[in-house]
């Protein structure tokens, strides 16, 4: 194909991609990509690209495909065909326009949810291939502006939200003060060496959802946990660099996080309700550093709550009576197998539970994950229209009585909020922690 068809040109204006693209020439692109293929294009890339029998069976896995009128351009293998196959075939000799489009596809049309892995007979990991493209885009400097800014924040402040060292500590003090109005002598223990638990959260918590830290403190207090949070960087377990393809920064961020926990001599890291952060500490970042598994055990909030109820550390005052449904976040369910534990916690705390379908490993992604929501407002429309199956799935649960969606993940929360609003669903979204906070003896 010599003529560039309109479909191959990035359609959404984005300063990161547009200005980034302006700086490039075809020669430069070829040089960077062929070097990248040489250095990092290994057997997985080769086998995935060659083994794919073009059967299209992965299509039904992908909510982008399902939501966009079964447009094959959005199928997992379809995205590989558009954005990666030409790169490999032409050994990197692709145009600037091609790279811009590839960046848009890889960053905003795939949530890296890995659902397709369960639908492809060969287990071809499309998320890996999309990340491969993202890393190329990172090396070429054509990354959507918003997520690139987040990656910069990570590098400059070791957190996702440009939170300064003092602002972090100040937020904890402030939440502690607030919480003391409710529970006298409640404490958010900072820098307590030798505590059992190192509690880490994601950057947006102190910035936008500080009440979650408050709630966590109340739960820790009610359960009598010996816990601490650092007054240094390392408190943020999130990682957008994992999604921009900046692996060197991922390694640095995870080092800071794990070493904060090690410095405080804590035995395990309990993390708030976030999915991608779990992926980055449990599965991805540790590998870049040479740790086969995370060096200290990492417990996601779901598992932690499960333990607290199992061990009768928390007691329920009154069960939550509004019917709830559960959104299984990709990164802790398909990526961590926590689905049954989440249900255990729900059964302990809620009196009416409605399953959504599909569920567990087969749940649809919220549409926000994989850094897609972090690519920001330019892509909101696309993200919302690509969550149509999600909306249908929620509407079905709603029709069967569910009024509250429990989503134990920050990204899912934001994504579902947009979906619920966009599709006019009358549902509220909550964290497990919100429910627990409401119904336990404090």
């Amino acid at each position: 194909m010599t003529k560039q068809s309109p479909a191959n040109i990035a359609t959404i204006p984005d300063e990161g991609i547009d200005k980034g693209g302006q700086r490039l020439t075809t020669d430069q692109i070829t040089r960077v990509i062929s070097r990248h293929l040489e250095e990092e294009g290994g057997a997985r890339l080769k086998i995935y690209m060659e083994t794919c029998v073009h059967c299209g069976l992965c299509s039904d896995a992908c909510h982008f495909y399902l939501s966009n009128d079964h447009d094959p351009k959005f199928s997992p293998a379809g995205k590989v065909k558009q954005a990666l196959a030409p790169i490999i075939r032409k050994k990197g000799r692709v145009s600037v326009d091609f790279i811009k489009k590839a960046s848009e596809i890889a960053f905003t049309e795939c949530n890296l949810c890995r659902r397709c892995v369960m639908y492809c007979p060969f287990g071809i990991n499309i998320a890996y291939l999309m990340l491969f493209i993202r890393r190329i885009c990172h090396k070429l400097g054509v990354v959507p502006q918003y997520i690139q800014d987040t990656a910069h924040s990570h590098s400059a402040t070791m957190n996702q939200m440009w939170v300064k060292e003092d602002e972090w500590i100040d937020t904890l003090h402030w939440q502690e003060d607030e919480a003391r109005d409710e529970i006298e002598n409640l404490r958010i223990p900072l820098e307590k060496e030798g505590a059992d638990i190192f509690y880490s959260v994601i950057g947006p918590e102190p910035k936008f959802r500080a009440q979650l830290i408050y709630q966590a403190a109340v739960i820790m207090n009610a359960a009598g946990m010996d816990w601490t949070m650092p007054a240094t960087s390392g408190w943020d377990n999130s990682d957008m660099c994992m999604y921009t393809g900046d692996e060197e920064m991922v390694a640095r961020l995870k080092k800071v996080h794990f070493e904060a926990a090690m410095r405080l001599k804590t035995k395990r890291i309990v993390m708030g309700e976030c999915g991608h952060a779990f992926r980055s500490v449990h599965d991805v970042g540790n590998r870049y550093l040479g740790w086969k598994m995370s060096p200290l055990s990492v417990i996601h909030a779901i598992e932690f709550y499960y333990e607290l109820f199992r061990d009768r550390k928390l007691r329920v005052r009154q069960k939550y009576s509004i019917p709830v449904t559960l959104h299984d976040p990709c990164n802790v369910v398909r990526g961590g197998g926590l689905h049954e534990l989440a249900r255990y916690v729900i059964h302990e705390t809620c009196s009416r539970f409605v399953e959504m379908h599909p569920n567990r490993e087969h749940n649809y992604c919220c549409g926000a994950g994989g850094g897609v929501i972090n690519c920001g407002p330019p892509y909101t429309k696309k993200r919302e229209s690509s969550s149509k199956v999600k909306a249908d799935q929620l509407a079905d649960a709603m029709a069967r009585g569910a009024k509250v969606i429990i989503a134990p993940c920050h990204n899912c929360h934001s994504g579902l909020e947009d979906t619920v609003k966009h599709y006019g669903l009358d549902m509220e979204i909550k964290f497990l922690g919100d429910i627990i906070y409401e119904c336990i003896y404090k």
Partner: protein, 421 residues
């Protein structure tokens, strides 16, 4: 910091009974113990909404709205960050610095404990304060506060060019630099992270990122010629002033000196390198293979490896011995001189060498009780809380500090034991 005037008479000294404190105050935070073991202190709440510090049962005369980061200096005096009427400052033994700030944090002591530096902010202007005197220059942000051994020099990563969030291309031109005693380097970088002062405090080396892809080490504002895929914290050779840092090259991590690869060996990971006092030996935490951790001395890894982690690398005073804490299959261990000690624990603290380098003592935790292990043998005493042991200057005695020995679960005692009994 071995002060021969500390009380090294063999025996047990009962310092305080914390159950008394808990009866007196409704709020007692976790206690801290002075290096000489003579004082135990905690943040307490003597009145509603008022906090103070209780040291050996005595309250500071000043009360504060908030107190945090209570720590003992190496010279045994007590320091905390305190606030009154929303102004924050440093309190030393209960006496505050003259000036207050919007916030202070990141307390740093000189090695001898004589100087204190903190990071501070006033009306969104950031600076450091040493012993009450703030930097003349202020910056829109400040992080990674670092002080020299003598505490006379302080450095931090500061923002030198303002940008709005979202201005990714401006950021990529480099908006950060380091400031030493308030004065900025003048060269800007995308990022600067961990920094080290030379032992005399005259030079500063830092990890930097020059572009999104090029990492290197900068010494006094001057980057090395070569770029790397990544770098970790640089260190000065205590004798010749050269700078070494772990750097990532194709094929793995290596140690580089003044920009040139210095160790031939490549590792899957290499970090936290340390010099012996004579500058002749370098030890580092390394992963020779994926998921296998150990110590390498001058590039040669120990035969023993651990599959979870290695941390707290300590070099003996004579520079010949190395010890560390390590974790394998979920159990913590102590390793020294290439060998792993027998017992596994729930947690292991940084090993402590005797001044003559012949002994190693380590605080450990097992089943919720704390012990001290000396040269591989656990002492028979167990505690509900304990602090790092210290050897006497002549290396003949050891001080064990803990709560809950001899059946009294709230009594803090310091014990001096003869090593050769």
């Amino acid at each position: 910091m071995y002060h021969s005037y500390w009380d090294w008479n063999v025996g047990k000294k009962i310092i305080a009974d914390l159950s008394q404190w808990r009866k007196t105050f409704e709020w007692v935070e976790e206690p801290y113990v002075s290096p000489d073991g003579e004082t135990i202190a905690a943040i307490v709440k003597p009145e509603d909404l008022k906090f103070s510090v209780c040291a050996n049962g005595e309250l500071w005369e000043n009360y504060f709205d908030k107190i945090w980061y209570l720590r003992f200096k190496p010279n045994n005096s007590l320091v905390a960050l305190v606030s009154k009427d929303s102004r924050w400052t440093v309190a030393v033994a209960g006496q505050t610095w003259e000036n207050g700030y919007d916030f202070v944090w990141d307390t740093r002591f000189s090695k001898d404990g004589k100087r204190i530096t903190v990071a501070a902010v006033n009306e969104n202007k950031y600076f450091a304060v040493t012993d009450g005197s703030p930097w003349e220059q202020t910056y829109p942000s400040l992080s990674n506060l670092t002080v020299s051994d003598d505490g006379r020099n302080a450095a931090a990563v500061v923002q030198s060019i303002l940008f709005n969030s979202g201005e990714i291309f401006k950021f990529q031109q480099g908006c950060y630099t380091a400031a030493v005693n308030g004065k900025a380097w003048g060269t800007n970088f995308l990022n600067i992270w961990d920094m080290s002062f030379s032992p005399d405090g005259q030079h500063l080396a830092a990890e930097v990122r020059k572009t999104l892809y090029d990492y290197t080490i900068v010494v006094d504002g001057q980057p090395w010629d070569k770029n790397f895929l990544s770098v970790w914290k640089p260190k000065f050779n205590p004798k010749d002033g050269s700078v070494t840092a772990p750097v990532k090259v194709r094929g793995g991590w290596a140690l580089a000196r003044n920009g040139e690869i210095f160790w031939d060996e490549r590792f899957l990971q290499l970090w936290h390198h340390q010099y012996s006092a004579d500058g002749k030996n370098i030890a580092a935490i390394v992963a020779p293979r994926f998921g296998q951790w150990t110590i390498a001395v001058n590039g040669r890894p120990w035969p023993v490896t651990f599959n979870n982690l290695v941390t707290d690398l300590v070099v003996s005073p004579d520079g010949r011995r190395i010890a560390c804490a390590a974790k394998s299959d979920g159990q913590w261990y102590i390793a020294a001189d290439g060998q792993c000690w027998d017992n596994g624990f729930d947690m292991v603290w940084a090993p402590v060498f005797s001044p003559d380098s012949r002994h190693i003592a380590v605080k450990v935790e097992k089943d919720g009780r704390f012990f001290v292990v000396i040269d591989g043998n656990p002492l028979k005493m167990d505690f509900t809380a304990a602090w790092d042991p210290i050897f006497s200057p002549d290396s003949e005695k050891i001080m064990i500090k803990g709560i809950g020995c001899d059946g009294n679960e709230s009594q803090y005692c310091r014990h001096i034991l003869n090593l050769y009994d």
